[in-house]
Symmetry: C2
Subunit: 311 residues, 2 copies
Amino acid sequence: MVDSSVDSSSMNPQKNLVVALVQMSCGAIPQANLNDALAKVEEAARRGAKVICLPELFRSQYFCQREDSAWFDLAESVPGPSTEALSKVAKQHNVVIMVPIFERRTAGLYHNSVVVLDGDGSIAGLYRKMHVPDDPGYYEKFYFTPGDTGFRAISTSVGKLGVLICWDQWYPEAARLTTLHGADVLFYPTAIGWHPSEKAQEGETQRSAWQTIQRSHAIANGVFVAAVNRVGHEKPAEGGDGIEFWGSSFICDPLGVVLAEASTDQEEILVAEVNLSRVEDIRRNWPFLRDRRVDAYAGLTKRFFDEDFKL
Amino acid sequence: MVDSSVDSSSMNPQKNLVVALVQMSCGAIPQANLNDALAKVEEAARRGAKVICLPELFRSQYFCQREDSAWFDLAESVPGPSTEALSKVAKQHNVVIMVPIFERRTAGLYHNSVVVLDGDGSIAGLYRKMHVPDDPGYYEKFYFTPGDTGFRAISTSVGKLGVLICWDQWYPEAARLTTLHGADVLFYPTAIGWHPSEKAQEGETQRSAWQTIQRSHAIANGVFVAAVNRVGHEKPAEGGDGIEFWGSSFICDPLGVVLAEASTDQEEILVAEVNLSRVEDIRRNWPFLRDRRVDAYAGLTKRFFDEDFKL
């Protein structure tokens, strides 16, 4: 599914691309969330967007707040209900859509994935979340097998696009590898929020770290970054404080300058025009890719240099 | 020179470490700069610092603004004048000192290096700048052979410390590898500034990107980061606008929170106490090292995935 193509940044030096991020809240009924997403994608297309990205697992509330095998009922195949519905919109409006899904690959094998739909409604590519978290309230390792797609730049009618998912955003390795595959824009559909008990003291530090690490991927790699998060306070039916998803979807340029940023608590369709020729311009002036010490990076495949420690 | 030792973060859970960064301007006379550095290091020691870092190539003005083989006269061996003078101060005050030097390894073989002096005055380790830039006004590839030390955590009497140099700061690979060797603090002696013609329009974006990428290394790796830059407007004798070094030395914690930050234009000794137990605490709550996909990172040793592009 990763087609070969030429580098869009060098071939389309003046190419502008209108990107939309759908910052939405998600309710208890999957079909209602899907309908809401369809309407918002259509609105984004009417506003001129050519690439539209939905937030991680948008078709449901964030069920990973607890471990319950009943939630596997939410999983869907590729193609499946979400991709089929959104494929029609993609084709109708000739837009690329990034569709995060809870993917059922077979019985007992599930992934946290994104399907990239091209402007003709076809599936341009699939990415399965490579880094899967597991923290109090984010019990993803119970639900999702770590991805085996590797890191990809997916060829679409508007260029090569990278997509990574939430926890991936903390890993410079993921951004770098996606860039080395030729992506000019990295998308990060996300579901991240505050534990209410931590919000007052730690909330702004956490949100700032989240934005900082993603801006840093733009800077290190000379790419645009577009992160889209959900909003809303989701409380599990069985009790608990739940999670206040912090929104703050944003798009930044290859110098890390934020071009557009959404609120922490409102549904919004964030639209920004990005000039892909900036990738070429900025990498000429900040030639980080030129000087990578690929001869000295083999240790990145190690967990830790235990041999440095006599135990 | 990279001794084996136990992990300071786990062995010293309540260990506080006072760090000092010497933000200084550098004049035309090397011995005067060295004397100035000696006095400032002594002042930092009197203020309680246990680790003191000088800025990149502090013994001279930033000669890389042009290519002139006469400047190789500035290079010194290890041990040499800078390390011998500072070694006495290290021993006298029982402090660790990071001493950036223009290193002469043999005739025709020079490096941009840092010698780490331990509190007994001995040499604890050496690091040679791995990523060497070359941009208008920063013609470093003429002067410096790319380092062959690899990335190191240097064992000292106060723990394992990482040191990287200037251009290295744009490479997440460098920060990651140094962390995987066991460093709890990453030091970045630096010489970076504005081209006066770009300052008004691009200056703040550039300075912000510089801080952002380094804060991101703290976040991604769960380490403290301490960056020290010079100040002053250095104009080459033969003309040209020169470079306005932007200071802005700072120390941030493993969440990327800036603990102390210096001005853009004044000499300062920036002192901050860092609590190394924060490395343990934060990595427990933000367990990024746990989930690295070391099985999927081999491509980081590639320059680019050319096979994705049919040329």
